[in-house]
Amino acid sequence: MNEATAATAAAIDRAIVAVPYYGFLGLRAAVIDHHVMVVLPGADRHVGDAVRRSVHGGVLAAFLEAAAQLRLHVLDSRRSVMSVDFTSAFLREAATTDTFASPQLVRVGRRFAHVRVDAWQTDPAHPVAVGNGTFSFG
C-alpha cells in the first residue's frame, strides 16, 4: 500500500468512526486501485423481509448514501458534506450476504457535488441497487 492509498484508507476509517450509525450498520471500507469500496456486511439485523431473508430497502438506501458521503469525505475531509437529495433504485433482492458499493464522483464543484453509487453482491455488472445524490459542501 503506497502512502496516498494508506492516507485515503485512514481518512475513510476516521469518517466511519465519526458517525455512530455507520458503526451500527457495520460499514467497512477499503481502497482498491485508487477506488473507494464500501462494504455493508451481511447481518440478520439488516433483514427487511423475514420470509425471503432479503436486506431492507431502507438499509440499502442508507448504505448507498453513506458510501457517497464517505467518497466525498475522502475527497476533502476539511469540508463538511450535507445531503441535498438522494434517489435509490432497488433492482434486485439483496441476500443477507456482504454488499459492496463503489461511489463514483460525477461532478464536483465549489459548492455542490453529484455522486453515483452502484451496490452489488456477487457481480458488479448485476447491481442490487443504484443511487444518485446531490450534496453540498459546508
Partner: protein
C-alpha cells in the same frame, strides 16, 4: 402503541392488525433493531417513530444519521402501501425511493415519519412521506417519494 390491541385498520383493509403491527415493529429485523414504533394508521397512510440512541447518531452530538431518516421513510411508505392496498398479494415491493432533505431536525429526541399513498397508477403505487423531529424544528427533516410495485389483481378461482 405497545401491541396490536386498539389498532383499527381502515374499512376495506383485509390485513390482520396483529400481522401489520408485527411487520411494523418486529418481523422486519432492521426496524426491530432501530426500535421502530407504530403510532397509527389511517386510510392509505401510516405513522411510525424512532427514539434517539447514541448508535443511531450522525456526526454531531445528539443528531440523527441520514440513514435512519432513509430507513424510516422507506418503512413508513411500505406500511402505508400495505394499509392502502389492504391485500398482501398486491404488494410487490419497493422499487424506488427519493429523499429531499429540508434542513429541519438537528439534535432531537425523536423522529416521526408519516406516509400517505396516492391513488394506484397502473402497475405502481406512489407514496409520499415526511420525516419530522418534533421539538427541534417545525420544518420537516426530509420529504420523500417511494414507488411500490403492484402485483396484478388476483381473481379467486371458483367463485360463483
Amino acid at each position: 402503541m405497545r401491541d396490536a390491541t386498539g389498532l383499527v385498520l381502515p374499512p376495506g383493509c383485509m390485513l390482520d392488525p396483529g400481522y401489520l403491527f408485527a411487520v411494523a415493529t418486529r418481523t422486519n429485523a432492521a426496524h426491530a433493531a432501530l426500535g421502530t414504533e407504530l403510532l397509527g394508521v389511517e386510510p392509505h397512510g401510516a405513522t411510525i417513530r424512532v427514539l434517539w440512541r447514541p448508535d443511531l447518531g450522525g456526526g454531531d452530538p445528539g443528531t440523527w444519521a441520514n440513514g435512519v431518516v432513509s430507513s424510516l421513510l422507506d418503512h413508513a411508505c411500505s406500511l402505508a402501501a400495505l394499509v392502502s392496498l389492504g391485500d398482501l398479494r398486491r404488494y410487490g415491493g419497493t422499487i424506488g425511493l427519493r429523499i429531499d432533505y429540508r434542513g429541519g431536525g438537528g439534535a432531537a429526541p425523536v423522529l416521526i415519519a408519516r406516509a400517505v399513498c396516492e391513488a394506484p397508477a397502473g402497475s405502481v403505487l406512489r407514496v409520499n412521506g415526511q420525516v419530522f423531529a418534533p421539538g427541534a424544528s417545525p420544518d420537516p427533516v426530509a420529504v420523500g417519494l417511494c414507488t411500490i410495485a403492484l402485483n396484478p389483481v388476483v381473481h379467486d378461482v371458483g367463485a360463483t
